[in-house]
């Protein structure tokens, strides 16, 4: 490195008596004037005051300073102040450093030793400034559009909030309609308003919003780029129905000879190959499911097209690959229920009258397979005794999921309550481990179920569920009385654990977003950054991040949307330049650096590359780099070692 002769100025602050009362500031300034590289040193009563800053600016100009050390309070207090002042005097702000002689010297030590330490601390920081190079913040443009992945309530809310702020939104949904699980629900706790009634207006708003483009029956295929500048590839599957022409007459579905389980009803009813998931679906159109159709190429049946008066059916429709640019991405891919098939103790999902919570929602729903009458799947009889099993698959680290699925206590109370309303003579039992009803009006709701509705809450785990004739036998233990309990029920509803929706981990990999041990998307910080992924420009909403109820999902979605709006509103993204960098002449591409980075800022081909916008500046990769090809701007190895040596130098102490 060609050594330019430095001209460093040292400014010692008295901070009234805060520093000067303990540290001999005159002596410190005098010692500093003899440090190598220092051409000017002084002390002043309050450096942060206007006259103090003026003194600094004047000295920078008069003494043509190449660097500045202010020996004063903690850099968290006034580093910005002095850097701005220096910039105004024409000195690059990154050549200004603070020697903390207040919090870390004068306030904690006394006597001549305090002055000696102040000298050492200042001497070390002078060495740092000597090695500092002028830097400029990195700037980059922002694509003013957002991508929302997942069209459940969280995705819908995020899309609406971003669009209402004036930014374009692409809303990608895997299934033929947006709405998510919320569309399947009957009523919602704790208010018992009808889920569809509060959801569908929002769905319509999305479909009519001029800033929102819905890409249903589509999946995110590939993502490249970085914050503000993502490129995404979206695969849009053909629906074989032109939504602009389809008038929802439904004739096609009537003539379709195919019958397959209806996903929306969780298999409790059948649908044809050409279908609409539910009447209020958005986009408002039928979809031909190519997998179950008798044949499109070559055409084997074609009856649907024959009866379609709107001529909406187009067998030549092709899969589309869309390439889009977006500045931010919201992941709202939601949840699924842990499969009943995994529950050995509850019959592996083979007992027809053992169903999960979402199946029960469909039984409760007025638009469901039983038109809202609670009839059990095996024989359509109205069940007289129903057992609800909470924590089925949750809080069971040995066999299933270790975590609490959070929403089950509440929806089970709701289920039992709605069952009692529908079948007033019926008896409902709830097996629970604990009741977790933290939430506004939640505890009251559960109490109502327990006390007013005569629902029998039994504290204990269900050991076994099996079929015996027409009955489903439930064996459990009441841990409050210590007695074994047997219920010969007509229907058993399992509050299955909430798990990330299928494909979450694959999606996370594509986006370089981390998943926690249980597969939920991981937030950047569990407390302080719960709305965003560690990968800059990617935000999280809803149950994809962890089990959540509707209000929480909506709140998180709005929060994530606010973050997106804040990002997209910036004219340019500025990023501090104090980041890692690679000397490509020295890098062998060994790749040890890349896995050290929690932000995915490093890519490796022949050599490693650091994306300056993504690098947050921890320097962990630099310390890991064995060859020394990686360095950190203004915290170079040689710089730090000089600081260390200077701090330890006996003569340098000068007092």
């Amino acid at each position: 490195m060609p050594e330019i002769k430095p001209r460093i100025g040292v400014f010692v602050c008295h901070c009234g008596k805060n520093i000067a009362g303990t540290v001999d500031v005159a002596k410190l300034a005098e010692a500093a004037s003899r440090f190598p590289g220092v051409v000017y040193a002084t002390h002043y009563e309050y450096m942060c005051s206007d006259p103090g800053q003026a003194l600094l600016k004047r000295a920078i100009k008069e003494h043509r300073l190449s660097g500045v050390v202010v020996a004063a309070c903690s850099p968290t207090m006034h580093e910005e102040t002095f850097r701005k002042a220096a910039e105004e005097a024409g000195l690059n702000p990154y050549l200004v450093e603070i020697a903390n002689i207040r919090e870390q010297v004068s306030w904690v030590h006394s006597g001549p030793k305090a002055t000696e330490k102040a000298v050492r601390v200042t001497r070390a920081v002078v060495e740092k400034v000597w090695g500092d190079r002028p830097l400029e913040p990195t700037e980059i443009g922002v694509v003013r559009r957002a991508l929302v992945v997942g069209g459940g309530i969280a995705g819908i809310q995020a899309a609406l909030d971003i669009a209402n702020a004036g930014f374009e939104v692409l809303l990608v949904e895997r299934s033929p309609s947006i709405g998510g699980h919320m569309a399947q629900l009957s009523e919602t706790f704790p208010t018992l308003d009808c889920s569809q009634c509060i959801l569908t207006p929002k769905m319509v708003e999305v479909s009519r919003h001029p800033k929102i483009r819905i890409l249903a029956y589509s999946e995110l295929e590939e993502v490249s780029g970085f914050v503000g500048n993502y490129r995404v590839r979206i695969r849009k599957k053909p629906t074989y129905v032109d939504p602009a022409k389809c008038n929802l007459c439904g004739e096609c579905a009537k003539v379709c000879p195919v019958r397959v389980p209806n996903e929306f009803d969780r298999g409790l009813s059948l649908r044809s190959a050409i279908y609409i998931p539910f009447p209020q679906a958005i986009p408002s159109t039928y979809t031909l499911d190519a997998e179950n159709c008798l044949g499109i190429v070559p055409l084997r049946c074609g009856k649907c097209a024959e009866v379609c008066e709107a001529k909406a059916i187009d067998f030549d429709m092709q899969e589309e690959i869309l390439e889009e640019e977006v500045g931010a991405i919201v992941l709202a891919t939601g949840y699924e229920l842990y499969p009943k098939e995994a529950m050995a103790e509850y019959g592996y999902g083979t007992v027809p009258d053992v169903i999960d919570g979402l199946e029960f929602e469909r039984l409760l729903s007025a638009s469901g397979p039983t038109r809202g009458e609670i009839r059990r799947p095996s024989d359509g009889k109205i069940p007289k005794e129903v057992v609800f099993v909470q924590c089925s698959g949750s809080r069971d680290p040995e066999h299933h999921k270790p975590y609490c699925s959070k929403i089950c206590c509440m929806y089970t109370a709701k289920h039992a309550l709605l069952y009692r309303h529908a079948v007033p003579a019926g008896q409902a039992y709830v097996f629970y481990i604990d009741i977790r009803a933290g939430g506004k009006d939640y505890e009251e709701f559960v109490n109502r179920a327990m006390e007013e509705e005569r629902i029998l809450y039994i504290r204990g785990k269900v050991a076994k569920v099996f079929r015996e004739g027409e009955k489903v036998v439930v064996w459990g233990v009441d841990t409050l009385t210590g007695k074994r309990v047997e219920v010969r029920a007509d229907l058993v509803v399992l509050a299955q654990a909430v798990v990330p929706s299928p494909g979450t981990e694959e999606l996370a990999r594509k986006l370089r977003v981390a998943c926690g041990g249980e597969g939920f998307l991981k937030e950047a910080h569990p407390k302080l950054r719960p709305l965003e992924a560690l990968t800059a420009g990617i935000f999280l909403a809803g149950a994809a991040q962890g089990p959540k109820d509707i209000p929480e999902s909506v709140a998180q979605a709005s929060g994530a949307a606010a973050k997106v709006v804040a990002l997209l509103s910036r004219p340019k993204l500025e990023h501090p330049p104090e980041v890692a960098e690679v000397d490509e002449e020295l890098c062998s591409g060994c790749g040890i650096c890349a896995p050290q980075c929690p932000y995915g800022a490093i890519t490796v081909d022949e050599v490693a590359h650091v994306n300056e916008i993504l690098c947050e500046g921890c320097g962990t990769c630099v310390a890991a780099c064995p060859s020394g090809a990686m360095s950190f701007r203004n915290v170079g190895d040689e710089q730090v070692l000089r600081m260390v040596r200077a701090a330890l130098e006996v003569e340098g102490a000068g007092v």
Partner: protein
């Protein structure tokens, strides 16, 4: 070109290594005048001493500086040579013999208590072995070194590169005849899973022939070692042990590699609960000094070792 080649504390492999040049050796021999090379030509110390100062164009010294005689000989060679280079890992960095520095008073342990270095072992005092130095040193600790041909022994390509430069009279001071980048540059193995979930020694596993050895838990010093050998060891299924010396900016290669290895260790998801398992993996690194400082202990381990010695004396 007048050439001298000398061995100090050496295994002899460096002298043999010139044969690696194959037919190229004939060309080299036709262009040099060997003025001193004990392994090839009978010449004694006094013959060397008679040579005028700076009369040898190039001298190559291989071996560690272990005895007083080694030291004297290289001092004479330095005086007689225009260019003096360290040839091979021992002269360059101390090499494997310098690992003996780990043990304080190694001669006492080897030759028994009461042994004084330089004391005659037999009756014939004239044949007494030379005095052992308290520690093994790299060549540059004893005399200024103009250039380095590194390796254990130097690979043919680098020897050829050296002679080419020497014949062209283009040896720039301080030059190390090896690559600037790390060995991974020329290693054909594929790197995928950059994490260490276990550490094994080469003899304990049959490594996958395609994958990076480090990814398979074998400590390979390739990432911190200069390229130049064509990644000969990794190609042959053995990890790089660092004989070409550290890359220009690595600093202390053992500490640089220590940092890299520790950074790569993973026992499941990182977090407090993984600490004990991570420690187990780190503990399974056998002989960290011997593994990471295999050739470089004299040059890079010495300052710390000196501190440790001083401490031992103070405590004693």
């Amino acid at each position: 070109m007048k050439l001298a080649v000398y061995w100090t504390g050496s295994c002899g492999g460096c002298d043999v290594s010139f044969l690696e040049l194959g037919m190229g050796l004939l060309e080299v021999l036709s262009r040099v005048e060997i003025v001193f090379w004990p392994a090839l030509v009978d010449a004694k110390r006094r013959d060397l001493e008679r040579l005028p100062a700076r009369s040898v164009d190039v001298t190559l010294v291989n071996g560690v500086i272990r005895t007083a005689e080694n030291k004297e000989m290289v001092e004479i060679l330095r005086e007689k040579s225009k260019f003096l280079g360290a040839y091979g890992a021992c002269a360059h960095l101390g090499g494997i013999p310098a690992l003996a520095n780990q043990v304080n008073g190694v001669t006492e342990i080897v030759f028994g208590p009461g042994f004084r270095p330089g004391a005659p072992l037999g009756e014939a005092a004239e044949d007494a072995p030379p005095e052992l130095l308290p520690e093994a040193l790299s060549l540059d600790e004893v005399v200024p070194v103009d250039f380095v041909v590194p390796g254990c022994p130097p690979p043919a390509g680098l020897i050829a590169r050296f002679f080419e430069a020497a014949f062209a009279e283009a040896i720039s001071p301080g030059r190390i005849f090896a690559g600037e980048k790390a060995l991974c540059e020329e290693c054909p193995r594929t790197r995928e899973d950059r994490r260490l979930t276990r550490i094994v020694r080469p003899h304990e596993v049959q490594p996958d022939p395609e994958k990076c050895l480090l990814d398979q838990g074998i400590i390979c010093l390739g990432p911190v070692t200069r390229a130049g050998c064509g990644a000969a060891c990794p190609k042959g299924g053995m990890p790089c042990t660092g004989c070409l010396g550290p890359t220009p900016k690595a600093g202390d290669p053992a500490l640089a590699m220590l940092s890299a290895l520790a950074s790569l260790v993973r026992a499941g998801e990182e977090g407090e609960s993984a600490f004990p398992e991570e420690n187990k993996i780190l503990d399974s690194l056998v002989d960290p000094i011997g593994t990471l400082y295999k050739y470089s202990f004299a040059k890079y381990g010495r300052p710390l070792l000196k501190l440790a010695r001083k401490r031992q004396e103070v405590r004693a």
